[in-house]
């Protein structure tokens, strides 16, 4: 394939990277979260994100109400609220729409302090 197509395919194929930061709201298992999205090193803006979560060892059995993320102040930052059923490790699913259509799964351990990345 020619150079232009090759470069285009590289750009289009890059998986977005996400980082999550959560703080407990005080109400049981509800967290205020901020996700930072980047792609190819640059912040991913104007993404439409729907957030869900599931537990790795009992998939399909937990129903976390999906929430839509609002853009934050900094480019690539989005805020949302996560209402979980219990503490422990959750697979947070970000369904991206808008400029990039994809689904990211992030593993975070949720405790009384916030969320720590697992993988």
């Amino acid at each position: 394939m020619d150079t232009a197509t090759f470069l285009l395919s590289l750009v289009l194929a890059q998986t977005p990277q996400a980082d999550l930061r959560c703080t407990p709201t005080g109400e049981d298992f509800i967290y205020d979260c901020t996700v930072t999205l980047a792609r190819g090193g640059k912040p991913l803006e104007r993404a439409e994100i729907t957030v869900g979560a599931d537990m790795p060892s009992m998939p399909m059995a937990h129903s976390v109400r999906p929430s839509k993320a609002r853009p934050g102040t900094k480019p690539g930052e989005y805020h949302f609220r996560l209402d979980l059923e219990m503490l422990g490790e959750w697979a947070v699913k970000l369904r991206l729409g808008g400029p990039v259509r994809d689904q990211l799964t992030l593993h975070y351990e949720f405790d009384s302090q916030g969320a720590t990345r697992r993988k």
Partner: protein, 290 residues
């Protein structure tokens, strides 16, 4: 190399002693009911969590914690027996086992509700250094576990062969129909066997949690899996088999982990069980399992 083998064997036997205790409880229940109690581990976990909760909120000594664990286990076991096994006696084995699984779910959720953190500290059984036997080390709590397993065997033997209750139990195991015709109150025997198995499980659970110094909600699943595996390896329905199966499982795990790592450790144990079952090895498949 030999030193590793011996050390691993020592570790394996002490871990296996815990498995043996769980397997004994499973076997007692299986022996009289011909069913596996999937809520056995979780009921034990209930007792351990009750003790942990007491310790967290009131502080308690080791002996009190042991008593609470055993009492909690017996209470939970009675609940399981009444709801899952008494109603299906003579009926569907699958219904009983699935019902016991349902109660397992209850115990697990209860634990995570009352104590939501993944890990809680539990007062250690013994805080000091392990015993040194030349180049080998032996943990003191491991020794206690082993001694308890041996004592439990002796106690069970005495109960089964030197007491009237034991005679009734053996009658129910060997000839359930004849036993009730002979006037033995079979349901009452079952209730007491369950209580005995639960108490045994409580002891095992307490020792495990106190040896590790911590408790997690995985205890229910872990003890159930190990107990079932050990019971099957040693021959379903045989009490000496349960002990041997437990010790064998401990040894196999210790050596597999040493040579191949933790994933292979579990893989080899499951593979062994599968192969033994598939080959329908006589000692494993003689007793009918409904």
């Amino acid at each position: 190399m030999l030193a590793d083998l011996i050390q691993n064997s020592l570790d394996g036997v002490t871990a296996g002693a815990a498995y043996a205790l769980f397997a004994l409880g499973f076997t007692l229940i299986f022996g009289v009911l011909r069913r596996a109690n999937l809520a056995y581990g979780p009921a034990i976990m209930f007792g351990c969590y009750a003790a942990t909760w007491t310790h967290l909120n009131f502080g308690a000594g080791l002996l009190l914690l042991a008593v609470i664990t055993i009492a909690g286990g017996v209470l939970a076991g009675a609940y399981v027996e009444r709801l899952c096994f008494a109603p299906h006696r003579g009926g569907s084995a699958i219904a009983a086992m699935v019902a016991s699984f349902a109660l397992w779910m209850q115990f697990e959720e209860l634990a995570t509700i009352v104590m939501p953190r993944h890990l809680y500290a539990f007062p250690a059984l013994y805080d000091g250094p392990p015993l040194e036997l030349g180049p080998f080390t032996l943990r003191i709590d491991g020794l206690v576990m082993l001694a308890t397993a041996i004592a439990a065997c002796a106690l069970l033997w005495w109960i089964l062969y030197r007491s009237r209750f034991g005679l009734a139990v053996r009658a129910v195991i060997e000839q359930p129909a004849a036993a009730s015709l002979a006037g033995i109150n079979v349901p009452w025997v079952l209730v007491r066997v369950f209580a005995l198995a639960s108490a045994l499980g409580g002891v095992a659970g307490y020792l495990v949690v106190a040896s590790h110094g911590q408790i997690t909600p995985m205890l229910g699943m872990w003890s159930t899996l190990k107990g079932l595996l050990a019971m099957m390896l040693g021959g379903l329905g045989s009490l000496p088999g349960a002990v041997l199966g437990g010790l064998a499982l401990g040894l196999i795990e210790a050596h597999s982990q040493w040579f191949f790592g933790p994933q292979w450790r579990d893989l080899i144990a499951y593979l062994l069980l599968f192969v033994l079952l598939a080959a329908r090895v006589p000692w494993m498949t003689t007793r009918s399992a409904s």
